[in-house]
């Protein structure tokens, strides 16, 4: 992968010399385009971050940087009366459990889909993809009734189980693609040496697939972390809310009409871990997203 990138950079560096059109035009235009794209992607996010760092009384300032930098909004978010810690904890529990369960179940299936010959393989693959297309609300209405009858409302499992409906297809699809990229010969060699297919999976495939599994884990975690409608429907107790739900109902600790500053600070707290993950693992995430094509 690194080798490919280096060659690409080399190629692109020598490219402009070959162009026949005036140099400034062909050089400057994509750069302008890039600046526009980056601005488009980051400007609203930047505005959220800047607002979060303003003093509450400067909330409606329109300067590009806060006049006075302040952590007051963040202090308000983590005010014990708001219960935001608890929401963060809930989100961590739900997203982590969803990710772990998904990876265990999905890696088995993905291995079968990538490596074994069996009847109805395309049917399974089609079914898995099709389930990812179903609208969440169609699943939530009946599950809400079912879980009410179990007394599962306001529990973690009521959020984790429905989340598998979108996490599992995503993970199965991604892992299948990753498993498939690994050379079959390695397993065959292991099996010639006396491994059963199950052993070949455990001793050869799993260690080799670690990067793919890791990528899938990041994607699943991000998608599970961002989940809203399930968490909103299955929980009506404040102490069980996940962050995405808590943030949407956020009124803040202070008596503002619309505590936008506090809301933005809460938004930054919820988003920053994800943005950091994106920055660190961007290559992997993009690889995962583009093999899938499935959100």
């Amino acid at each position: 992968m690194t080798a490919a990138t280096t060659t690409r950079t080399h190629a692109t560096e020598t490219a402009p010399a070959k162009r026949r059109r005036p140099r400034q035009w062909s050089d400057a235009l994509p750069m302008v385009g890039l600046v526009v794209i980056v601005g488009y992607c980051l400007a609203p996010f930047y505005w959220m971050v800047v607002t979060a760092f303003r003093r509450p009384e400067d909330q409606f300032d329109n300067t590009l940087l806060p006049r006075v930098w302040s952590l007051e909004n963040f202090a308000a978010v983590f005010d014990p009366s708001v219960g935001f810690h608890r929401a963060l904890l809930n989100s961590v529990v739900v997203a982590t459990t969803t990710t772990v369960l998904t990876l265990i179940v999905a890696s088995l299936t993905a291995y079968a889909l990538a490596r074994l010959e069996f009847r109805g393989k395309n049917v399974v693959l089609g079914l898995v993809i099709a389930t990812s297309m179903f609208p969440g609300i169609s699943l939530i209405v009946p599950l809400l009734k079912l879980f009410s009858s179990f007394g599962w409302i306001n529990t973690y499992q009521a959020m984790v189980l429905p989340s598998l409906s979108f996490a599992l297809p995503l993970a199965v699809w991604n892992l299948t693609m990753f498993f498939r990229q690994m050379p079959v010969e390695l397993e065959q060699a292991a099996m010639v040496d006396g491994c059963t297919p199950a052993q070949a999976f455990r001793k050869v495939i799993v260690p080799l697939a670690a990067p793919g599994v890791f990528t899938t884990a990041i994607l699943t975690f991000i998608v599970a972390w961002n989940e809203f409608i399930i968490a909103l429907s299955m929980v009506n107790k404040e102490s069980m809310q996940t962050v995405t739900v808590a943030i949407s109902k956020f009124t803040g600790a202070q008596g503002f009409e619309q505590p936008f500053g506090t809301q933005m600070a809460a938004g930054v707290v919820v988003t920053v871990p994800l943005v950091l993950a994106v920055l660190v693992f961007q290559r992997r995430i993009i690889a995962g997203l583009t093999t899938g094509g499935v959100k």
Binding site: E117, P142, F260, L289, T290
Partner: protein, 342 residues
């Protein structure tokens, strides 16, 4: 390992051929029993889970939609237990009865949002991908920043846009107007579309970029030598070559837009006619413990999504599992190739 001896000769493997399923069935008879059992064991957890959280709810919603809770309330305001069978009345009420106006409003909102956002996302996404593909420097930085809108949770982005579109927010300042974004019907729609496109256009751009990078440079060189202009190279070479990837991306974006919920819910609010989508309507009913009507909405929603997906795949030929299927065949033909070589 199940090496198939019935394999077809190598080189006859046409990835576009649609005859795969039939040949597939014939060839799979040679699969050893043990592998089949292992596959069944490995695949079944996924199928069981999806059966529980997807298939059961859909069937249950269909059943549920034929019933309705009694209207009577007891002294504390709780619903008296028990459902009455009402046949198709939930559906007729929604489509033609007292609920019709609200339903059709939500239906058109959903459809309108889907068409406009997906159209804008596709155009912007392709444009972004073309720019990024031609960019010489700063690729890593651009790639990282393009992932930011995708990574921001929709609920947070809705909140962020609510702040931007606040009465004395930055949007009004920039436009020099005093628009009440959440109150005015048209402005509310514009706000939702803007926020949705912001979040998803870069994602489409990313997928298209991946498609663009697969096009060999030689194809463009050849067209340039033949005197094709930049515009016609785009329409006649780039677009047809990225079409398969683009179609799948558009399909998934459409299905995603059809179930839009969090964004209008947080950005504008519940039960606002101007932005209420089908998902929001069904959700409102479900939380009012109107399970029968809610299930009917859920069923209609499901049918609508399935219909759109089916029409899209049939009419435009989006090959959703194509990627996987070709690799299945490539892998399958490999042992056959070895047999022949021996």
């Amino acid at each position: 390992m199940s090496v198939e001896v019935t394999g077809r000769p190598p080189g006859t493997d046409d990835p576009e051929s649609s005859s795969a399923p039939s040949t597939g069935t014939r060839r799979r008879r040679s699969v050893k029993k043990g592998t089949g059992r292992l596959a069944a064991i490995l695949v079944s957890p996924t199928l069981i889970v999806l059966g529980l959280v997807v298939a059961y709810p859909i069937l249950s919603a269909l059943h549920e939609s034929l019933f309705r809770a009694r209207d009577d309330l007891d002294a504390q305001g709780f619903v008296i237990e028990g459902d009455v069978f009402v046949g198709a009345r939930n559906f007729t009420d929604i489509l033609f009865g007292p609920e019709a106006e609200r339903f059709w409003n939500a239906f058109w909102n959903t459809t309108f949002f889907t068409v406009t956002t997906v159209a804008l996302e596709t155009v912007l996404g392709v444009a972004m991908a073309l720019v990024m593909h031609r960019a010489l420097r700063g690729r890593a930085f651009v790639r990282a920043s393009i992932l930011v809108p995708w990574a921001v949770p929709t609920a947070v982005s809705a909140l962020m846009w609510r702040w931007i579109f606040a009465p004395d927010g930055i949007a009004n300042l920039a436009l020099g107007r005093q628009i009440l974004w959440s109150a005015d019907a048209v402005a509310a729609k514009v706000a939702v579309i803007t926020a949705e496109v912001w979040k998803t256009a870069p994602f489409v751009g990313l997928l298209v970029l991946a498609g663009l990078q697969l096009i060999p440079q030689e194809v463009h060189e050849a067209a340039r030598v033949d005197g094709a202009s930049g515009w016609s190279r785009f329409w006649r070479i780039t677009l047809p070559l990225i079409k398969p990837a683009l179609l799948v991306a558009v399909l998934f974006r459409m299905l995603d837009a059809l179930r839009m919920f969090d964004l209008p819910f947080v950005l504008i609010g519940q039960q606002k006619d101007s932005v209420e989508t089908l998902s929001m309507l069904a959700w409102t009913e479900a939380t009012n413990i109107q399970f029968g009507p809610a299930a009917a909405y859920a069923t209609i929603m499901f049918a609508y999504v399935a219909l759109v997906a089916f029409a899209f795949v049939k009419m435009l030929g989006a090959d959703v599992i194509g990627d996987a299927r070709t690799s299945v065949r490539r892998k399958r033909s490999a042992p056959a190739g070895k047999e022949a070589a021996r």
